[in-house]
């Protein structure tokens, strides 16, 4: 695990440079897909603040993606607010949900925490379905305006925000606060004995990761022009967990690339066969067996192998 651990920033910058150039060579369809990939990557990075760095696994992070997406869509379409106010609405919604569900879920850890987040997320899903007047119910919200409307220009807007936030995440986990996250992950009892308020640090991590998911949701709604309640359903929370694990949760580069890879595997599987979920399942199972540290772990092993042969 050493090569990427020691060169994480370098790897991130190279990947981001690649992502800045690549749309020039892609069709509009693929640029759109890659935009979603960036947002999945951002979501995985945000989720990894909580999972990889603070040691808490949430099965309810879809609720924050939806809070962002629905907050923005309700503001723009249903309330006819201007974009800034709509974004503020989305953030406020996310913040309230994150603080309340985080405070309540963090009374427990491990699987009990995971189950509580799942329960809260399903509650939000039920609300979205039932509050038909505000959320559009099963049908969701259509006609969300996109600015800039051109998909390639929109890609670069997404790209800039994602690049900034991913690098910010890389930095945050290296600050004292990030050190606190990791200490809580490794040994919460000792961290507490050394004088840290463990629950407070866990809540900060939870809210911070919710913010990342919310930004991804806010950027996703205009990209897709429409949103439906399936972004709040628990299967989407599972996807967020899965792509983080695919990429590798040991660092932010792994998580980010996990989001991009997931989109690619998912689309390829869908194009190749109608049994795409089966294909996806097999690929995921193989990855977990062969690469417990994710794709990044494979890369490290290959590099170590090649170096060892020289």
């Amino acid at each position: 695990m050493k090569i990427l651990r020691d060169n994480e920033l370098y790897s991130l910058v190279v990947l981001l440079m690649f992502l800045a150039v690549i749309p020039q060579f892609l069709s509009t369809y693929n640029v759109r897909l890659l935009s979603v990939g960036l947002l999945y990557g951002l979501a995985a990075v945000g989720f990894n603040i909580l999972y990889g760095y603070t040691g808490l696994i949430s099965f309810g992070h879809a609720m924050f993606w939806s809070a962002g997406a629905y907050g923005l869509a309700i503001g723009l379409v249903k309330l006819n607010l201007d974009p800034v106010l709509s974004i503020l609405l989305a953030f406020t919604l996310t913040f309230i949900i994150a603080v309340v569900t985080g405070y309540l879920s963090l009374k427990h850890t491990e699987i009990y925490f995971a189950m509580l987040t799942l329960a809260f997320a399903q509650l939000i899903y039920a609300l979205i379905i039932k509050l038909r007047d505000i959320t559009g119910g099963d049908e969701g919200i259509y006609g969300i305006p996109r600015f800039p409307p051109d998909i390639e220009q929109y890609y670069y807007l997404v790209y800039m925000i994602v690049a900034l936030l991913v690098l910010l995440a890389w930095w945050i986990v290296r600050t004292p606060l990030g050190l606190g996250f990791q200490a809580v992950r490794d040994n919460p009892y000792r961290a507490e004995a050394l004088g840290m308020d463990v629950r407070r640090v866990r809540l900060i991590s939870f809210v911070l990761s919710a913010f990342y998911l919310s930004v991804a949701g806010i950027l996703y709604a205009p990209l897709n022009r429409a949103i439906t309640p399936d972004i709040a359903f628990w299967t989407f929370s599972a996807i967020i967990v899965i792509m983080t694990i695919i990429g590798g949760s040991k660092n932010m580069f792994g998580a980010f690339i996990g989001g991009l890879i997931f989109i690619y595997i998912n689309t390829q599987a869908m194009n190749l066969t109608e049994f795409w979920q089966l294909t996806l399942g097999i690929i995921l199972a193989l990855l977990v067996y062969l690469a417990p540290y994710g794709v990044v772990g494979i890369f490290d092993r290959v590099v170590e192998y090649v170096r060892g042969r020289r």
């Binding site: 600050t175 004292p176 606060l177 050190l179 606190g180 990791q182 200490a183 992950r185 490794d186 040994n187 009892y189 000792r190 961290a191 507490e192 004995a193 050394l194 004088g195 840290m196 308020d197 407070r200 640090v201 900060i204």
Partner: protein, 260 residues
């Protein structure tokens, strides 16, 4: 170093702890002066670690009090949470090293300093790795001779290095008292010598007081100012080491050689 008239820093009065029907700690009292090293010996299950847990707040006593004596006079810490006791200057190391495996040695110690200075989440107190933090970290690394492993992760350390780091974490928080649970268990001979030197130099140069739970009698003889023998939760002897070791021969005979 110790002796009459020294400033008392920590005291336990008639401490009791039951686990079900087992009287794990039975009426134990002690006082610890500034710069004093009190060793506790006794067979497994004598209640030594339980006594440390009572003092450091990990478990609450069923009866009795624990006091810290500081500039603000006597403070009752009985049953207070561990972090509160830490902030009053009583640090603790563990029998099985209790460190952060996913952090480097430097970050382990940084964490301890930042937690102590409450810099982790209180943004208004100044944020970041300031020089004062790094200075303390360098100092601790230097004292504990961890320079060579400073960039290694906790999970990559040897048992002896983990032991040292465990104590270093508590020491980084400027404690007046350190409670050490079997600091030399599992160490090689030379590591043991190093640990003894370390304990003595911390006492000499930083005036730190110690309560040391220890099995190795050579270590005990080398470092202790006072020695307590525990058996079945009770104190069998509590005096200067020479006196106790003479007595202990009597006690050993009495208990069939089981005590030391």
């Amino acid at each position: 170093m110790s002796g009459e008239g020294d400033k008392v820093v920590l005291g336990g009065v008639s401490l009791h702890k039951w686990f079900g029907n087992v009287h794990a700690v039975n009426n134990v009292s002690f006082t610890l002066s500034q710069g004093e090293i009190l060793s506790i010996v006794g067979p497994n299950g004598a209640g030594k670690t339980t006594l440390l847990n009572l003092v450091s707040g990990i478990i609450k006593p069923d009866d009795g009090r624990v006091y810290v004596y500081g500039e603000r006079g006597r403070i009752d810490i009985t049953g207070k949470p561990p972090y509160y006791i830490t902030f009053l200057g009583v640090g603790r190391s563990f029998q099985i090293p209790n460190i952060f495996d996913g952090l480097t040695v430097r970050d382990n110690i940084r964490f301890a300093v930042l937690a102590y200075k409450k810099r982790m989440t209180r943004f208004n107190r100044g944020y970041g790795f300031y020089e004062d933090v790094e200075e303390i970290v360098d100092n601790v690394v230097n004292i504990f001779r961890l320079e060579e492993v400073i960039d290694k992760y906790g999970s990559e350390l040897s048992h002896g290095e983990r032991k040292k780091l465990d104590i270093a974490l508590s020491f980084a928080q400027s404690p007046r008292v350190l409670l050490l649970d079997e600091p030399t268990s599992g160490l090689t001979y030379s590591e043991k010598l190093e640990m003894v030197d370390l304990i003595k130099s911390l006492r000499r140069e930083r005036n730190v007081s110690f309560i040391v739970v220890e099995h190795d009698l050579d270590v005990v003889r080398e470092v202790s100012d006072m020695l307590m023998v525990m058996y079945d939760g009770s104190v069998l002897a509590y005096d200067k080491p020479d006196v106790v070791i003479q007595m202990s021969e009597v006690i050993s005979a009495y208990l069939g050689g089981e005590v030391l």
